[in-house]
Amino acid sequence: MATSGSILGNPVRRVEDPRILAGEAKYFDDLEPTGCAHVVFVRSTMAHAKITGVDIGEAASMPGVLAVHTKDTLALEPVAGMMAPPAFSRPPLADGVVRFVGDIIAVVVAETRAQAVDAAEMVVVDYDPLPVVVDAEAALKDGAPLLFPDHGSNVAVDFVTMGATADPTILDGAEVVVSGRFVNQRLAPVPMEPNGILVEPGDTVTITVPTQGPHGVRDPLAPVLGLEPDKVRVIAPAVGGGFGAKTGAYVEHIVAAVLAQQLGRPVKWTETRSENMVSMVHGRGQIQDVDLALTKDGMFQAVRCKVTQDAGAYSQIGAFLPFLTRTMAHGVYEFPKVELTAISAVTNTTPTGAYRGAGRPEAAAFLERIIDMAADEIGMDPIEIRKKNFIPPDKFPYSTTTFANYDVGEYAKSLDEAVRVAGYDQLRADQKARRESGDVKQLGIGVAAYVEITSGGMFQEFGSVEVKPDGSAVATVGTSAHGQGHETTFTMIVSDLLGIPMDKITLVQSDTAVVPRGSGTMGSRSLQIGGSAIYRASEGVLEKAKVLAAHLLEANVDDIVLHDGGKVGVAGVPASALTWGELAEAAEDASRRPDDWEGKLAAELDFNQGEATFPFGAHIAVVEVDMETGRVELIRHVAVDDCGKVLNPLIVQGQQHGGIAQGVAQAMYEGVVYDEDGNPLTANLMDYAMPSAAEFPSFEASNTETPTPLNPLGAKGIGESGTIGSTPAVQNAVVDALSHLGVRHLDMPFTSERVWRAIRDATPA
């Protein structure tokens, strides 16, 4: 690949776009099969309570109502969480106790959505309130209200006893120790399309669901329905974003599927936004106590971080994510010692799960924050202290003390480039001038260098390529795009290897009936694993084509090449070369193909990368802080992200932009807030401050390219890098804007009030 004239590396426009722009792409809620009934859930309005009675009588008698169920009439197995005690499993319909606002008490299914809503309103619930705990640290204290009293504690996962034993001497011998306590606040993923499901029963149950991986929905649903997996067809149609939160089967999916089976008719659940804000998993939610030991001249000696992870009610993926925080606790630095211990605790809040970055942004956040505090402490420039401690390029592959094996890294290269693009020295001069003039708008410059793990733990993916007698090709892959443009990128790969024009190549994905297996699109794995599977399958097809062409042309297979123009034939003899259509036709003709030929002109395989890749980069954010109102404005954001070989810069930069925006949003705007009774105060898009275009500048995003040796594309993930680099850069910028007042740390998000308080408290009245 990547010979001269290769399509790879070019900004190829997306083939997905025409149908989306015409309004023709079908998202699950756009489908309404005949006879479709509608599901509405009755959710708890209390964060923790015993349910002493549920009166469904009036609801059941409402017009159009087909069924109303509580756990008494719809008994479903509780769903267990990852690594968590079985006692923390979640019954799809609450079994006597509700544990967060949004927990499901009853379900109504009716002919129309309006009728289902009308009936759901008539369900009367008797609650007996229980004490509430909304904070993970409070949940771990003696005497804290217990979500599962039989279990005896709120501990979901304890990473201290999982090999990460605390070393009390880790800071011994330090010349300087800086310490901080950082809140990495809880976020709502907010894909623009909320959750939902459409279930059509039949000999094969067909399920259309907005998910990042249809096989991951099928596998838990099939046994609930009492069916073999091949009798459950799961389709991910056009999906309106996921960001980690649309993975696996939600309890709502289970209930809807069972109801469809019972009623023998199609059933649909369409989540509303205000419902989504309490029922879809939240992300982040860590409290981090951090110590950094270093020498007076800025060499790092040790870093220690104690994480308290908020798992939310019922333990799901969120409880496990500190594992990834620990994996990345080394960052881009040569730490002699690194220690991260973590405890995940259940609380009376929405369960936490994966959200863009999922455990890794939290690592970059605490490292980059404590390093800036250290730089302030010893009076060193934040760029200098970072570069002093970078793992040098000649040490890769580099095994960290937190069990990561970094593939490649040139950390100074991306930071130097960010410094150059930002005009760092001039920015510092501007900052100095504004400080000296007492400008009401002070400038802050924030730096962050990061490394992250992509395709972690999910190294294998299915891919196949088949060439048809009409000369077209079909590629099939186990990843499942929902905005990432795989139809474009993956067909570019096939086109590049086989010389078949992109418009004659179809990508098949997102349907368990036609994709035999797959892990879906998550963890920034798709191009490097799924794309490599397509790459290897394309190579396999080309090898078969060469064998076939050699047979047909009575030539030696070693003399067969792919000619320009996409024909296969003898090197130097393009005139006799065969088209892909001719080859595919011959492959199906027993009289023309070799005797030992098997199957079509196709190849399929599971590509296994064997280990993860570690993209890296550097971000520089520039903010203005209004010293009177506390309002922060991001005026520039420079991102240099290294995802290895870039196949389609248009799509890579799109991922960078989106990632940056979400990371900036964490720093500046977003945060899920509960009151002490566990009522969510940010359960709609008016109160949850997801930013619009008006809140951002244009981004200055570029790349360095350090290919990974682990896959044939040289590609590493890019889906989450922007998020991981941008949050600490912006956070550091805001603290930097106030550092002349003695401010050393501020938690996110930077509401005007939070910043105003910091200024007020730092400035003598």
Partner: protein
């Protein structure tokens, strides 16, 4: 504790988007609209632009047996200038107000209106709807109060006119009765050369202001203030006038330090609300700065 699931706490509308059923009325004249309101009293609700009401209905945070759609009453919309007054019909779209050359005679309208919601919202949202909704953080209610506008309120039995200082009673409540309609607002036109400004701090652009100010000043031939009006939004249960600050301003040609002092005076006796977005303390302190800044801008625009 027994709860119908229909009555969640206000902040927790975790429910699908479908209004409860209602009867829809689309009168063609003001008289017909008033007749429907007279018949159904508090069971009926006028529907103007619907930019606040429809989402509240859809989330079932509120419900009415009867909706009286005013969008088909042409006589309720329109902007007219007579001598010293600009009269705006209650159903005038906010977007039309932004574009109107007649409304330009009241510069505060042009300065405040773009801060309402988003442009799609202003395409539907009406002047009267926003004023009668009486959100204490709303821009137009603050303009009404600051300019001492006069408001026409009609019922089946006749029309009364009230002044802005009497109109707002509390958060989302006004003197408009269940059987009445706000039909028009009369904004006084200030002298040529007057300066106006609007400034606010919001979480995001388009959000309700955490704290905001609308103000106007007139100067004599030199730079002495002869007339001043300062209105605050987001600082109480209704829009508020900063009367003491206005008095302190009139007769002076304020220095920057004096403006700072007037800003402080404007918020001195207030007890602004606290919510998840901002505390009382923040609103007070930042309110003073915002008043100072807006006055500075208004004075500059007045040629001071």
């Amino acid at each position: 504790m027994r709860k119908r699931s229909a009555k969640p706490p206000l902040a927790l509308p975790c429910r699908p988007v479908k209004p409860a059923p209602f009867e829809y009325h689309a009168p063609a004249t003001t008289a017909d609209a008033l007749a429907v309101l007279a018949e159904h009293g508090d069971e009926a609700k006028p529907l103007a632009g619907g930019q606040s009401l429809v989402p509240m209905l859809a989330l079932r945070l509120t419900r009415f047996g009867h909706l009286v759609d005013l969008n088909r009453v042409p006589e309720l919309a329109g902007i007219e200038r007579h001598n010293g007054t600009v009269t705006v019909g209650t159903m005038t779209r906010q977007a039309d107000l932004e574009r109107s050359p007649d409304a330009a005679a009241v510069p505060l309208l042009g300065l405040a209106t773009p801060l309402i919601g988003h442009f799609q919202i202003r395409n539907r949202g009406t002047v009267g709807g926003s004023i009668a909704h009486a959100d204490p953080a709303g821009e137009l209610p603050a303009v009404v109060l600051t300019l001492d506008a006069q408001l026409d309120i009609a019922s089946a039995s006749g029309t009364r006119t009230v002044s802005a200082s009497e109109f707002f009673e509390g958060t989302w409540t006004t003197v408009v009765g269940d059987d009445e309609l706000l039909t028009a607002v009369h904004f006084p036109v200030w002298a040529d050369g007057a300066g106006f400004a609007v400034d606010e701090v919001a979480r995001r652009l388009g959000d309700f202001a955490l704290v905001g100010v609308v103000c106007g000043v007139e100067l004599d031939g030199s730079s002495k203030v002869t007339r001043a009006a300062i209105g605050l939004l987001g600082m109480g249960g209704t829009p508020l006038r900063a009367a003491a600050a206005e008095q302190a301003l009139v007769g002076t040609a304020p220095t920057d330090d004096e403006l700072t002092e007037i800003g402080r005076l404007a918020v001195a006796d207030l007890d602004p609300p606290a919510d998840i977005h901002a505390s009382t303390e923040y609103r007070s302190s930042v309110g003073a700065h915002v008043v100072k800044r807006a006055l500075r801008t208004a004075l500059e625009r007045a040629g001071g």
